[in-house]
């Protein structure tokens, strides 16, 4: 009897890649996408000092040469202190031109901070000058409760207050905060248009598959070179591309809220390496028991993680829909039938 192919053991080894080959392949894809399909000369890349945008920048420089890649640095008043310095290190390491566009004034004019802070104040009436806040989700491990967002606010004196959100406040907070990603994308397209470049997006596989992006914000781009790569693999490419060690050592952050927020507490529920493994396991139909063993969590936890992934994928599907025309709707119905 044929027992079928032996599945690789569920662990970090499943993400091991030949980094140089993967870089060559991705560079070839970039050239095909940008030069042949989009008929552009190069790319604009928004650089945040994080691992994803740094790798995309370096890949674009390999594909088109430093003279055909523009790095955009777009901090605002709530960006982490190290965002700009790390971004500059990356730009220097790949030798491309960069433009600094501080987006604080634009965001101020649009009411981004004001609208968001009004919503924070609805939840915490004494929220005011000197306070900083973020939105967080409870942990998924060992918790059977619904994962409902809370606002964590820190007073000027350093004391934290935690309050469950209301749907109205949460929607207003997210809507106002999304100005940040959407304004940056607008600026990316300004520079892309004037240079006859394409816009390279920076979502990795976790983000793209699970919907961790803003529609018409960082979810918008002409080409997304690392959208098929797990975060673990992005780190491997970063090392092979010789990116600065400070960038490779930085904890993934949203760099979106005034109070520092990591991606785990905001969206993914697990550290990126565990989330990679969970997404891989779900995508390859591994039973929850295998994931539980690989992560050292209970079977109930693994089932909850799978359920969370399924829910996020549903959100991602709607975020990635094109504008829906009648013809498009019929095509979608055809896919379902």
């Amino acid at each position: 009897m044929n027992a079928g192919p032996t599945l690789p053991e569920l662990g970090p080894d499943v993400f091991e890649v030949d980094a140089e080959s993967l870089i060559d392949e991705t560079v070839a894809d970039l050239r095909e996408a940008v030069q042949q399909r989009l008929r552009k000369r190069g790319t604009v890349v928004a650089v945040s000092g994080g691992i994803d945008s740094s790798v995309v920048l370096a890949l674009c420089v390999r594909a088109f040469g430093p003279e055909n890649v523009l790095a955009l640095l777009m901090p605002e008043r709530e960006s982490a202190a190290e965002t700009l310095s790390l971004s500059r290190q990356v730009v220097d390491s790949v030798g491309t031109a960069s433009v600094l566009e501080d987006v604080t004034d634009v965001l101020e004019a649009l009411g981004c901070y004001r609208h968001r802070d009004e919503a924070f104040r609805d939840l915490i009436p004494y929220y005011g000058p000197g306070w900083r806040a973020k939105i967080v989700l409870p942990p998924i491990i060992g918790e059977d409760s619904y994962r409902v967002f809370s606002v964590v606010a820190r007073s000027p004196g350093g004391e934290d207050v935690r309050v469950r959100v209301t749907t109205d406040a949460l929607r207003r907070i997210v809507a106002a905060t999304n100005f940040k990603q959407r304004i940056r994308k607008t600026i990316e397209y300004y520079h892309a248009d004037r240079l006859d470049f394409a816009v390279a997006g920076t979502p990795n596989r976790l983000e793209y598959e699970l919907g961790f992006f803003v529609r018409n914000g960082d979810g918008s781009a002409d080409v997304m070179p690392i959208a098929r790569l797990y975060k673990t693999q992005v780190y491997q490419l970063a090392a092979a591309l010789g990116l600065p060690s400070e960038v490779r050592a930085r904890t993934p952050t949203t760099d979106t809220y005034p109070l520092s927020q990591d991606q785990e507490e905001f969206y993914f529920a697990l550290p990126y390496d565990a989330m990679d493994l969970a997404l891989y396991a779900r995508g390859n139909d591994r039973p929850p028991a295998s994931l539980a063993a690989a992560l050292g969590v209970s079977l109930d936890d693994a089932v909850r993680i799978y359920r969370d992934i399924d829910a996020k994928r549903r959100v991602a599907e709607t975020l990635k829909l094109p504008p829906l025309t009648s013809a498009g709707l019929r095509a979608l119905a055809g896919e379902r039938s």
């Binding site: 409760s145 619904y146 409902v148 967002f149 209301t166 749907t167 949460l170 359920r307 829910a311």
Partner: protein
Amino acid sequence: MAIDLEGEIQAFLRQNFPQYGGAEVDREQSFVESGVIDSLGILELVEFVEARFGFRIPDDELLPENLDSVANITRYLSVKVGVKDPV
């Protein structure tokens, strides 16, 4: 007058979740697993329940066994507000 818990929940779902197309919701169907209501939708449901029945659902009671279907909510509310589950 007796409160029709299930009827009120059904009406709220029909009015606020267009995915149901105005139809009666299967009382045993899991909201989350059916993909109709996400975690924000659950929060919306919690806010409705809290406003309508005048009590705060503690965080440690935000559980699927209390809230993840019409049957579960009805059962939970019948205990919390002292109305007998009609089914």
